[in-house]
């Protein structure tokens, strides 16, 4: 039974077709990467999966259950969580408070009007667990808005984890992150994939080809290619879509990412 399945999922903004009749099914194991040029509809696709946008037509199934019209907060309770292209977190909160929010929800405190936060031992313990996991403990009392860009990305992902998802959708986790920190993010995602299904939207070809078990290529809102890293590399249409009819010689280096 597949973990996540879409049936001719389509989204139109007026005449613009952002996602065009996408049928995809995502199984249990490994890391799936979704690549494609800007405006291919990757982020819109994530928004449709997680209930942020209502599809113009088509359906989304999570473990067989139809979640098309559910709101993000209901889908999150069904263990499907996602991070954001521009890292989003609570700037005025400290890092501890940011992570604590997800724990509040999972431990059922979201409608608790009277508990004194400092006395909630279970919340405290759980939040410490995540803080250790991300070695952010030294900056525990620092306001999130003062973090470096990379740390913000990690915090965003950490907040997704507090929901203990079975599927984690990561929207360009390393974009805008400098060399040293992107390796830190890269390793972090690597060991996460052991515990849960990970779907990444990514531009960095080195990461895509070294980390993914399966690659899906999106262009103008529809799937161009879907298969292992090797199959996608060889695929004619992918090369054409990516390079727009470059001369013969240039294909290989562009695809292999050396010229970056």
């Amino acid at each position: 039974m597949d973990l996540l399945r879409t049936e001719n999922l389509t989204k139109k903004f007026g005449e613009l077709i952002a996602v065009n009749d996408v049928n995809i099914s995502i199984q249990e194991e490994g890391i799936l990467s979704i690549i494609g040029p800007n405006g291919a509809g990757k982020t819109t696709f994530f928004n449709l999966l997680t209930g942020y946008l209502k599809p113009t037509s088509g359906k989304v199934f999570l473990k067989g259950e139809d979640i098309t019209n559910l709101a993000p907060y209901d889908i999150v309770h069904k263990k499907l969580s996602r991070s954001f292209q521009i890292a989003s977190y609570f700037p005025e909160f400290t890092i501890f408070e940011n992570i604590q929010m997800g724990v509040f929800n999972r431990l059922g405190y979201s409608y608790n009007y009277f508990a004194n936060i400092n006395k909630l031992k279970d919340v405290h313990k759980e939040t410490e667990k995540y803080m250790k996991m991300l070695d952010l403990t030294e900056q525990k009392e620092m306001k999130a808005k003062f973090l470096s860009h990379g740390d913000k990305k990690i915090l965003d992902i950490a907040m997704c984890l507090t929901v203990e998802p079975e599927i984690l959708l990561l929207d360009e986790p390393t974009s805008g992150v400098s060399g040293t920190e992107s390796t830190k993010v890269f390793n972090f995602i690597k060991n996460l994939s052991k515990k849960m299904k990970i779907v990444i939207v990514e531009h960095d070809m080195d990461i895509v080809f070294s980390i993914s078990d399966r690659v899906v290529v999106l262009a103008q809102g529809s799937i161009l290619a879907d298969g292992t890293v090797e199959e996608v590399r060889k695929n004619e249409d992918v090369q054409k879509a990516y390079l727009g009819g470059f001369t013969e010689g240039g294909y290989e280096d562009a695809i292999s990412g050396k010229s970056k």
């Binding site: 942020y52 946008l53 209502k54 709101a71 993000p72």
Partner: protein, 294 residues
Amino acid sequence: MNTTLCLALLFNGIVLGLIWSVIAIGFSLVLGVGQTINFAHGLLFTFGAYFFFSISRNTSFWIAVIAAPILVAIMSLFLEVVLVRRVYGQDPLFGLLITFGFAIAMEEVIRMVWGKAAYSVSTPIFARGQLILGNFVYSRFRILLALFALTILLLVLWFMSKTSFGAIVKAGMFNSEMISALGHNLPLLRTLVFVMGGLLAGLAGVIGAPLWSIKSGMGTDVLMPGFIIALIGGLGSIKGTIIGGLLVGITTSLAVLVIPRFTDIIPYVMLIAVLFYKPKGLYGEVTILGEVRE
């Protein structure tokens, strides 16, 4: 209920709707492009009426019709540059409060300058008398004012859809960052739109002065239908504002037969009903941070 009365009330609703639309358009443009709630719009309307009253008494009716809106436009330039410009992009409540405070203060200035009494403007000679068709009686002056309002609305409609400035203003509503990205000077655009709103408020004041007699508090009474029609019509949509104005005007005018005492509630109920089903308003394409998600 005899039919002539319903006909008269329907006709009266159209007249009322057109005049309210002139007020609503100014509010809608400022709200659309500048994303600020301009609660001083009612005050600018009042200044239009007072300027029209003073100038028409000392000079001639026609000089006043032209001079009053221009004076109000200059005043709105001052208001935008000194105050409103500092609250663009901040919490919408700030824009609302700063213009609201300015309106309270300036209303007091009006009372200091023009005194606290109510004034009336005498109907110009050419517009006196009534249009009488059988027992359908209607004031000729009101019809002329409605036509004047209609011309203003059509002018703005033409200006917004046909001229390049109009196109930039419309684009400014969709995505203000895009406008500055394309090299247009966004702050200048917002100022010009605010001044345009002021000019429209002044024109509406010229219409309102003879109609509803002039008192310092007349701005707040007119502001409510103004912003409601702007939202019902859809922000920045001129067509929407005109249709919204007619809708509200006609319903309010006919409602006198049904619930004479509570006709003033009609615009508010219509607003809540429209925004509940169509958050962007009837013809609105843009929502300003109105909804978290669809």
